[in-house]
Each structure stands twice: as structure tokens, then as C-alpha cells.
């Protein structure tokens, strides 16, 4: 079964309604679940056990909330990248989008005189969020244009885009941080709903929507066909290029949204915002069972991939690993996690 957030309850219900004809019985349906999608769940449980042993602080709600809060921005990039990977493409520029989109929005919104950063003041400040999202959408659309209309290599095109946008970011901000964050950004980044940060809820909802779209919407399902065999998808009447283009634009949009949450949460845009994230994004997606060749993987898997990586970092911090060794361990952990998920799922990663 390939549903993303497994529609098991609904299916079982339907099966029961139909009188459980033959292989619709819950037991045999259980066999059809792709257990590999859940292969990281035990890993997460083990990590939590280790965390509990390492430090009593680990299981406090404060700590766990900070883990999910820190996961939220990364997970949005992973969500976007996962959709793009499933339809057989990749977009490296997401990590620059998370920085440049808020910067451009603030540049257009902020006053030209007051504050340390001189903006253009072209738009009212309420438009910061829509502008930011629009920038992300446009970047994704340009990537789509390069890949689908000009048919250039997507890897290099988005690598170029990554570098170019990073440069634009530094150029606009003159290499400095912007601290005059619009109130709307700040609210989304800082607000707390029902005892957890708003960003976390938003992420969960977006993942749920994405998962539902992949499971139950015809255009969502078509991503798997496009990634699995674009020619077959075309022969079946799927508008391959159009849908791929939309997915790339959505990827940019999600990255821009991650930028809003990140900026709001820290109250500033650093010149290096998002720098180096793309490796984490790919690592989380692949660990979570998404194929780099397209056509395979689920958003639930991707989400567990993000959580796994973040939990490891958290446990390390609590365990008192010196900060200077963080990068070394981070890389090592990605490799270890990759190997674990390869054998836990029993599927080749490609």
C-alpha cells in the first residue's frame, strides 16, 4: 500500500461496510501496509530511550517542544523536497530560498530611512507574508522554467540558483543581519497554540494536507506515476510538465514559508540563513525512505527522517558533546542513520 499517511482506518471502515469481502478483512489488509514506511519509528523510540538515560532533562516537555520547534523549519523544506523528489526532480535552491524570500519581502516593506536596514518601503507592512510567499513561488517557477522549458540539467540549474540567490541575499543585506522583523513574521514564529508553538501545528497540518493529497487526490497520486515512469504517465493522459512545474513552485513556496517561521522565531534574518541545510534536507528525505530516483517514498517517512536527525542532535547536546565536534558527529550520524534505515526497511536506497 502506498498511501502516505496511511488511510488505514478509512479503508478498514469501508471494508467492514462492504461486509469484508474476502481480502478486504482488516487482517489481510494489515499485510499490505508497507512496513518500510515505519522503519524509523523504532529508531526514534530507541533514541528517546537513550536520551532518557543520558539526561533527565530530555523527557521534559520544554526540551521535547524545543526539538519539534527546531524541526519545524527543516521539516517544511523536507516536505517541499520530498514532493519534488517523488516526481523525479530535485531542487537544491530551497536552502537559499529560506533566506532570500524573507529578505526580499522585508526589503520591499521596510521604510527607507528608519532602522539599521534601509528598505524600499514600497508596500505596506501587512503584505510582508504574501510577498515572501510570492517570492518563493516565483523562484520555484523559474526553476521549473529552466528544467521543463529549457530542458537544462536540474541539478546544476538549481545549484546555480542556490549560489545566485545566496549572493543576492548578501548583496541586499550587505552581509548584515536584519533585525527589524515585521510583526506578522514575529507572531507566526513566536505564538503558541494549545501549549505548543504555532509553527509546529502549522507543519503538522501542512504534512497532513500533503499526505492526504498524495493519498487521495488524483493530481497528488500522479506524482508517483510521473516519478516512476514519466512516459507511461504521459501516455495515460497526465500533464507531466504542468504538474511537475506546480510541484516545483510549491517547493519554493514551502521554503519561503519556512523562512517566515525561522525569521519570526529568531527575530532576525542572518546573512547565512539556511546555509548548508540542503544536505540535512536530502539526508532526512532519503533516511525517511524517499528515493532520489523518484516515484517512491511517503511524507510520513520524510517526517520521521527529520525527527530522527533532530533527536540525535538534541541527545548529543544534552550528553555534553563539545560544540566543536558537532559537525563531525552530524555527518557521521547521517551516514549511520542512512545505513540503519537501509537495513530496517530492507529496501535499496537510490
Amino acid at each position: 500500500m502506498t498511501g502516505t499517511i496511511r488511510p488505514s482506518t478509512a479503508d478498514d471502515f469501508n471494508g467492514a461496510l462492504k461486509g469484508g469481502a474476502g481480502d478486504d478483512s482488516p487482517l489481510s489488509r494489515l499485510k499490505l501496509i508497507r512496513w518500510s514506511d515505519f522503519s524509523l519509528v523504532p529508531v526514534i523510540l530507541v533514541l528517546m530511550l537513550i536520551g532518557f538515560i543520558v539526561s533527565p532533562v530530555f523527557l521534559t516537555s520544554d526540551n521535547l517542544i524545543s526539538v519539534v520547534q527546531q524541526s519545524s523549519e527543516l521539516s517544511l523544506l523536507v516536505l517541499g523536497q520530498a514532493l519534488i523528489l517523488i516526481c523525479g526532480r530535485m531542487d537544491l535552491s530551497l536552502e537559499s530560498t529560506i533566506g532570500i524570500a524573507p529578505v526580499v519581502a522585508m526589503w520591499l516593506v521596510l521604510d527607507s530611512d528608519g532602522g539599521r536596514f534601509a528598505g524600499l518601503g514600497l508596500f505596506p507592512s501587512w503584505s510582508a507574508i504574501p510577498l515572501c510567499l510570492l517570492v518563493g513561488l516565483v523562484i520555484g517557477a523559474i526553476n521549473g522554467f529552466l528544467m521543463l522549458k529549457l530542458r537544462v540539467n536540474g541539478f546544476i540549474a538549481t545549484l546555480g540558483m542556490l549560489t545566485m540567490l545566496r549572493g543576492l541575499h548578501i548583496g541586499i543585506t550587505e552581509g548584515k543581519s536584519i533585525t527589524d522583523v515585521p510583526e506578522s513574521f514575529r507572531y507566526l514564529g513566536k505564538a503558541s497554540w494549545f501549549g505548543a508553538p504555532a509553527a509546529v501545528w502549522i507543519c503538522l497540518v501542512l504534512f497532513a494536507i500533503g499526505g492526504a493529497a498524495l493519498a487521495w487526490l488524483r493530481h497528488g497520486r500522479s506524482l508517483y506515476a510521473i516519478g516512476g515512469n514519466p512516459e507511461a504517465a504521459r501516455a495515460a493522459g497526465i500533464r507531466v510538465d504542468r504538474i511537475t512545474w506546480i510541484v516545483l513552485a510549491i517547493g519554493g513556496l514551502l521554503a519561503a514559508f519556512a523562512g517566515i517561521l525561522y525569521t519570526g522565531h529568531y527575530g532576525a534574518v542572518a546573512a547565512t540563513q539556511g546555509n548548508g541545510w540542503i544536505f540535512q534536507v536530502f539526508a532526512a528525505a532519503v533516511i525517511g525512505g524517499i528515493s532520489l530516483k523518484g516515484g517512491r517514498g511517503t511524507l510520513f517517512g520524510a517526517l520521521t527522517g527529520v525527527l530522527t536527525l533532530q533527536l540525535v542532535v538534541n541527545v548529543m547536546t544534552l550528553g555534553g558533546v563539545p560544540a566543536l565536534w558537532n559537525q563531525f558527529l552530524n555527518g557521521a550520524i547521517i551516514i549511520v542513520a542512512l545505513v540503519i534505515s537501509r537495513f530496517a526497511s530492507g529496501e535499496k536506497q537510490d
Partner: protein, 506 residues
């Protein structure tokens, strides 16, 4: 030399199990030197497993294999296996971007020197190709070779390792008639030099053309071995299917249904339809209840015509009309909406998303009908797929099984299911029975016929005579032009002659 030489390969009592499934159940096979031996059987009969055992890819659980009287090399000793036997697969086993010379001597460029001497390599390649009379320039890149030339190169490479037994797995699947002719000529030549061939094919006619002996497997067991001359086609089919067949080619349009109504308004009509360099302006009319055959080799342009009808390619001129309405050219969604269903030529290229389930593949064209507001409800998808599985008799563990796990014939049925899902009023089928076993073939062609008998139109694009037998009318294409029209009841000879352009030149 009084004694007959030992057989090129002799397998006795070979057993191979994969978990609970018995893939080979005590089978035997003997191929004499210089013999072309056919191995036939339906999908799942154990042919591929035997090939794996004979080429050292799998270790047999029991039984003996000898090559030229000597016991088979130890399992895992690849070099030793290479010197005994080689298999030319359907899939290309050459590196497309390297030259022929490099492919021939890949990883054994030069024994004496650490450095590759390109000049010497080229000379050795020339020598090797000349030895076996293969006319291929060693400097061409492998990707530029025709399919049969690529096969010659693979055979020459195998022979240069010392192998005297070559296994050919469906070698003619991607060849047109001309290529097949060249391949067979070459094989006969090599046979005279003492090379033995094990020929695996679904195409019984070729077995009769090329082979001297035939072995039939069914359900992992050996059924019979006999000289080809002593078995009739009917007996062979009966041995393969295990049932008394009413002749392999039971499908013939005549008498299967009420004749199509030529006075009725045609369902499919093309006017001046053309694609530069593929086919010249073409007027077609297909009436309700009619199956139209477009016969021709790969180069005749009939495949391109099928693709244009299905919207996969944009025509350079002319119109396609279904029920009198224009269909926008070059757009599959428009073609689908107009009621054109499409069975593509190659199920791996355009037909299937191999890693996805049967249900998903079968419903790919109807995702808009499986739930409200653009949703695709899993329950309805399954239900729909189950109906298809039943009506087309697809052998699968269930709608959720990935299509990659199905046999060739059943994969093709999934492609057909996808084409039929929208209940098309025009079915375009391009080589619908390529690489499927005899029984699936009959049922697939039966489906095409049934679509037409229900009052729709069908177009079969193929060079397979069996495919064309279901047609009420056959147009033979040669170099993009219709050279002859046949009503049902044509003889094999005249149609083949027309497809080959015989009489066209004069």
C-alpha cells in the same frame, strides 16, 4: 572421430527452489554442438531460471550440468563460466557510450601491458569481428548500432571468451523482419563453425525457421524434447499449454462477429494526417465494429501513426476526428477525452510504472472518475481494479501487488486495462502481444476483437501476423505509404510481401 562429440551442454535433474516456489523441478536439457535448440514454454515455465542456472547466476539445488562433457565450473567462478557459455539478453549488455572495440575487450584490454594501446585494441577487435564475419566498424559507439548488430557484438564477445554455447533470450523481440533475417543468417553461419545455440522465444514460427530441436517446459517441468520437423505447431502449443488448443491462432476475424457496417458513419476518420519523415498524408476511416490493421515493419511509420492517433506525438498536418469531432493533435488528455484508448508499443517505456500497484496502473487514465472533487478513493480504485483483474483474467496476488512482480503477459494485460478503463470508442494498440506467451496472446487479441464487436473501432499496429489476424481490414505500410489493402482472409505470403515492399520497387 568415430564417437559423436559430447553435447555442448547437458543438464540432468536440475532442481531450483526459491523459498516455497519450485522454479525448476528435475528438468533436463541437452544441446549438441552446432545445433540450434529451442526452449519454449509459457511465462513462468522455468525458462529464465534454467538460463540463470546454465550461466552460473544461480546455484542449482540438485542435478548436474556439464559443458562439452566436463562438469560445470564451481559456483561463483565467473571467468570459468564465461569460457563455457554466454547469454544474449533482451536488454542490451553493452556500454552504450563506449566503442565496439572497447566493449569487446572491456576489462581485459591487454594482458602484457598496464597501459591500454588503443591501436592494438582496435586491431584485435577488427580481427575478432572478421573471424566471425561480423561487419561492424570497431570504432562505432555501441549506442549507434542496430539491435541485431549489437547482438552480433555480444555474441562475438562471448565467443572470444571461448564459449561454444550461446543462449539467446528473445533475440527477435526488438527486431523487424529484415533484422531477424540478418540475425538468423549469422546464427546459421556460426552453427556451421560448431557453435551451439539455445534459442528462447515466444515466436513459434521462428523456432521452425531456425531450430533443429525443441524442448518444451511447462510449470517448472520438462514436457518433451523432439526434432522440430517432427512436431506440428498445434502439438507444440498443446505441449506448452497442456491443453488441446484449437490452433494457436484461433483468432481470425472472419466469422467471429457480424461484419462491420461500412455504411455507418465512421467512428475514427483521419484526413491528410502526416508526420514529416514518418508517414505521408493518410486518409483513414474506421467504422463501428471494425478492427483496422496497420501492418508494417518498424521503419514503415505505422508505430508513429499509432502514436499520433494517441496524442503522444503532434502531427505535422491533417486532422483526426472521432465521432465527427476534431481531436487536438499532440495532447494525450484531449485524445483520451475524445475516446481514444492507447496500448503503447513497449510496456516498460510507456506502459507501466513498475514499482506501483496493479490497481494504480490500471486506473491511471481514470483518476478523475474515482471520487468527488479530484479525490481518488482507495476503495473505489480497488473495486475498479478488481473488476479489471476479473474481466481480463490478470494473474496477480491482488490489486495492491506492484506490477513489477507480474509475468510479461499479465503486465501487458494491466496496460490493456489502463487503455480500456475509459471505455474508449477507438482503441489504438501498438504491437499489443510483444513478448507475451501464447495463451495471453489469444486473450489479449480477444479483448481487441471484443472492443470492436461492442460497436467501437479498433486499430492494431503491428508486424505480427497473429496480431493482424483479428483485423477486418489490413493496410500494409511501407516507408510511410499504404502499399496494399487486404480484406480479412489474406494469405501470410501476400501480406508479408507487401510489408517487405516486394513488388514495390519494380
Amino acid at each position: 572421430m568415430d564417437q559423436a562429440p559430447p553435447p555442448a551442454v547437458q543438464a540432468e535433474g536440475v532442481v531450483k527452489r526459491f523459498g516455497p516456489t519450485v522454479a525448476l523441478d528435475g528438468v533436463k536439457l541437452t544441446v549438441q554442438p552446432g545445433e540450434s535448440h529451442a526452449l519454449v514454454g509459457r511465462n513462468g515455465a522455468g525458462k529464465s531460471t534454467l538460463v540463470s542456472v546454465l550461466t552460473g547466476l544461480h546455484k542449482a539445488d540438485a542435478g548436474t550440468v556439464t559443458f562439452g562433457g566436463e562438469p560445470a565450473p564451481a559456483f561463483g567462478d565467473t571467468t570459468a563460466w564465461q569460457s563455457k557459455v554466454a547469454c544474449v539478453y533482451q536488454k542490451s549488455m553493452v556500454v552504450p557510450d563506449l566503442t565496439v572495440a572497447e566493449n569487446l575487450f572491456l576489462n581485459r584490454f591487454d594482458e602484457k601491458s598496464r597501459w591500454i594501446s588503443w591501436g592494438r585494441l582496435r586491431k584485435r577487435a577488427e580481427q575478432l569481428l572478421a573471424d566471425y564475419g561480423v561487419q561492424v566498424d570497431p570504432n562505432t559507439r555501441a549506442r549507434d548500432l542496430a539491435v541485431e548488430q549489437r547482438q552480433f557484438v555480444e555474441i562475438a564477445r562471448a565467443l572470444s571468451f571461448g564459449a561454444r554455447l550461446i543462449i539467446l533470450d528473445e533475440p527477435t523481440a526488438q527486431l523487424d523482419a529484415r533484422g531477424i533475417g540478418r540475425l538468423f543468417d549469422k546464427l546459421r553461419e556460426l552453427q556451421d563453425q560448431g557453435v551451439a545455440f539455445l534459442f528462447i522465444s515466444h515466436h513459434l514460427q521462428e523456432v521452425y525457421e531456425l531450430c533443429t530441436a525443441v524442448t518444451v517446459y511447462r510449470d517448472a517441468r520438462h514436457v518433451m524434447t523432439a526434432p522440430v520437423a517432427d512436431v506440428t505447431k498445434t502439438e507444440l502449443v498443446a505441449a506448452m499449454t497442456g491443453e488441446k488448443s484449437a490452433g494457436a491462432t484461433a483468432w481470425h476475424a472472419a466469422g467471429t462477429a457480424t461484419p462491420p457496417d461500412a455504411s455507418a458513419e465512421p467512428i475514427l476518420r483521419t484526413e491528410g494526417l502526416t508526420l514529416e519523415g514518418r508517414f505521408e498524408p493518410l486518409d483513414l476511416q474506421v467504422h463501428p465494429g471494425e478492427v483496422l490493421g496497420l501492418a508494417g515493419s518498424a521503419a514503415s511509420g505505422n508505430t508513429a501513426l499509432g502514436e499520433v492517433l494517441a496524442g503522444m506525438r503532434k502531427a505535422d498536418g491533417g486532422t483526426v476526428r472521432v465521432h465527427g469531432k476534431d481531436v487536438r493533435s499532440g495532447s494525450v488528455p484531449h485524445a483520451l477525452d475524445a475516446g481514444i484508448g492507447y496500448i503503447p508499443e513497449d510496456r516498460h517505456d510507456q506502459g507501466l510504472v513498475l514499482e506501483r500497484s496493479v490497481a494504480e496502473n490500471a486506473t491511471l487514465t481514470v483518476t478523475d472518475q474515482l471520487g468527488p472533487w479530484g479525490t481518488v478513493l482507495p476503495s473505489r480504485t480497488r473495486e475498479f481494479a478488481r473488476g479489471m483483474i476479473e474481466s481480463l483474467d490478470i494473474k496477480t496476488q491482488g490489486p495492491e501487488q506492484p506490477v513489477s512482480g507480474l509475468s510479461g503477459g499479465n503486465q501487458q494485460k494491466v496496460v490493456v486495462a489502463r487503455a480500456l478503463a475509459r471505455e474508449p470508442s477507438v482503441l489504438v494498440a501498438v504491437r499489443p502481444t510483444a513478448g507475451v506467451d501464447v495463451k495471453s496472446k489469444d486473450s489479449l487479441l480477444g479483448v481487441v476483437r471484443r472492443v470492436a464487436d461492442e460497436g467501437n473501432a479498433a486499430v492494431v499496429v503491428s508486424d505480427e501476423l497473429d496480431d493482424l489476424r483479428v483485423c477486418d481490414r489490413v493496410l500494409a505500410l511501407f516507408h510511410g505509404r499504404v502499399v496494399a489493402t487486404f480484406a480479412s482472409g489474406w494469405s501470410d505470403g501476400e501480406l508479408v510481401a507487401a510489408m517487405e515492399g516486394v513488388g514495390e520497387r519494380e
